[in-house]
């Protein structure tokens, strides 16, 4: 038989019915929901550190929100946390600028290129899931919960050496308005991951100390940086907001750039300021925030040094966020930022084979 069996198989290829518009729209909506509210479940260090994101629905920022303070409702596995939404009192530009100009240089770090920036933090973010189908094609029930961790991250000061991440899982909490799903308890104990460096990112996307300290130290220059390059997203403003958070979170930004960033981030359309925002450690600072998918997301700054204290997410639109207004759905605190000579020598790190750079596949037979 000389006939090629592969061609014969191609000959019986069945016709494919067209992709129904309704099914296609539904699939796209599910994907959009996942990108807007990511519940990453892969190797741990790649799990999204946070869940909300910029460039999502452009919900108009609310000027003032009146909120009924609800008593915490105990639920299985943790209590709902409901906070009062402080009134948003936009600071005048001059006030903001004046404050930033006074930003004191406090305990400045100057890590050498061969050293590491170590950041310890406590986090609480939403985990979302069950919007997909299982292997048998059954639609799963949507679930949410708030996962909580203590984290320590070591990142190379010049972005050239592999870093490390330690995550200690804390007791999860209910996402306000939602029962605690069984998935909430699948992570426990302490986990280590290596953070490999896989090639260099383009300059404008780098967030290592060595590249941050070269950024402009004035508000205008910093603002231009936030809008530099193709950063993706539905809106340039959303992308600029994301870029600002990425420079601050689990990172060390030198004082000059820090003050410049604080001023610049306040000029992003849709961003406004609350005087009094509390982080996960109970520290109060200036909340600079933006509403995304019904949740006001604040970066909380130390009022004197403009260091990032933490982040906070509070529901402002019940319908969009599917959770009562005033619910605290994210809360973090950066507890310490220090310099280390190297990541720790944990045996778990040596054994971590999951965190590797992608391999090229199939060069030759």
């Amino acid at each position: 038989m000389n006939n090629d069996e592969i061609e014969m198989m191609a000959g019986i290829r069945p016709d494919a019915p067209p992709y129904g518009q309704e099914a296609k729209n539904a699939a796209r909506r599910r994907l959009a929901a996942a990108t807007t509210a990511t519940a990453g479940r892969g190797p741990l260090w790649r799990r999204p550190y946070a869940v909300a994101l910029a460039g999502a629905l452009a919900v108009a920022a609310t000027v003032a929100v009146t909120v009924t303070v609800r008593a915490p409702e105990p639920q299985i596995g943790g209590a709902e946390v409901v906070v009062a939404m402080p009134k948003i009192a936009p600071m005048s530009a001059t006030e903001v600028l004046g404050r930033a100009a006074r930003a004191a240089a406090r305990s400045d770090l100057e890590p050498r290129d061969d050293q590491f920036v170590k950041v310890e933090s406590q986090t609480m973010y939403g985990a979302f899931g069950g919007m997909g189908t299982d292997a048998d094609g059954n639609t799963q029930t949507e679930w949410r919960y708030l996962y909580r961790t203590k984290r320590a991250i070591w990142q190379s000061a010049n972005g050239e050496k592999d870093g490390a991440l330690r995550i200690e899982h804390l007791e999860p909490r209910a996402y306000p308005g939602w029962p605690v799903p069984p998935e909430a308890h699948r992570d426990s104990g302490t986990e280590w991951s290596r953070l490999p460096i896989c090639g260099k990112a383009p300059d404008h996307l780098r967030t290592d100390y060595a590249s941050l300290k070269k950024l402009p130290a004035d508000a205008e220059g910093m603002r231009a940086h936030l809008y530099t390059g193709e950063r993706g997203g539905n809106s340039k403003d959303g992308a600029a907001w994301t870029a600002a958070g990425d420079m601050l979170r689990e990172n060390y930004l030198p004082p000059a750039q820090r003050a410049a960033l604080f001023q610049a981030v306040g000029t992003i359309p849709g961003v406004d300021v609350v005087r009094d925002a509390e982080d996960a450690a109970g520290r109060r600072g200036i909340g600079v925030g933006r509403v995304s998918a019904g949740v006001r997301e604040d970066l909380i700054f130390d009022p004197d040094t403009y260091e990032l204290l933490g982040e906070r997410g509070v529901v402002v639109d019940e319908k969009t966020a599917k959770s009562p207004v005033g619910s605290l759905v994210a809360s973090t605190a950066q507890l310490s930022v220090t310099v280390a000579d190297s990541p720790p020598d944990a045996p778990e790190l040596a054994a971590d084979t999951a965190s590797t750079c992608p391999e090229p596949v199939g060069k030759t037979g």
């Binding site: 990511t38 990453g40 994101l53 896989c198 993706g232 596949v361």
Partner: protein, 196 residues
């Protein structure tokens, strides 16, 4: 609170903005960008899933799930590959394997389609009959393959991937593609001979 991947994989050079790798890279910082990948490739992935599975609703689910899985795994995408289709086909293949019953129903349906009426039984030889007339036998042969063999064969025969692309899709070396296809051909040939 944004999606932070503090250690996101860098890229040596910036690919042209229109290619898949660029889009996936952008989606690391801005997840919403990922929907662009769906707009580009959902029809093609759906076509493949619908060919391999009997029910179109299962194909709908597989397609939707393929992009959700891809989204979750995007940080591991090899950004040197400008075309994401092999990657998406690989994910879809895995998901299709999870729908064994729908796949078996498809193969049975293929086998049930009557061969075209043919008078010249005496001339019946593999060289002479068309693939269409061999349909039931081919469907039976397909059912007799291992799922790894079937995945590879159908990526090549039905999705029309090159050997290189199929290798990427299944995460196997191209040498393995060649040897596995060769073994698969032999199996099909034997199966056809036993049906003849």
């Amino acid at each position: 609170m944004t999606l932070a991947l503090p250690q996101q994989a860098g890229v040596p050079t910036l690919p042209p903005p229109s290619d898949d790798a660029a889009l996936i890279k952008e989606s690391l910082a801005d997840p919403d960008r990922f929907a662009g990948l769906f707009d580009r490739h959902a029809d093609e992935i759906h076509r493949y899933a619908a060919r391999r599975l009997e029910d179109v609703t299962t194909a709908d689910d597989v397609t939707a799930e393929t992009f959700l899985v891809a989204f979750r795994k995007r940080a591991r995408y090899d950004l040197r590959r400008t075309d994401a289709r092999p990657w998406l086909y690989g994910i879809a293949s895995n998901l299709i394997s999870g729908h064994r019953r729908a796949e078996v129903r498809r193969l049975k349906a293929l086998a049930r389609q009557a061969p075209e009426p043919a008078a010249e039984f005496e001339e019946r030889s593999a060289e002479r009959v068309t693939a269409a007339r061999l349909r039931p036998a081919l469907a039976a042969a397909l059912a007799g393959l291992s799922s790894a063999e079937r995945d590879l064969l159908l990526l090549v025969a039905w999705a029309e991937l090159t050997y290189e692309e199929a290798a990427q899709a299944l995460g196997i070396p191209i040498g393995t593609v060649r040897s596995r296809l060769s073994r698969t051909r032999t199996k099909i040939r034997r199966s056809l001979e036993s049906h003849a």
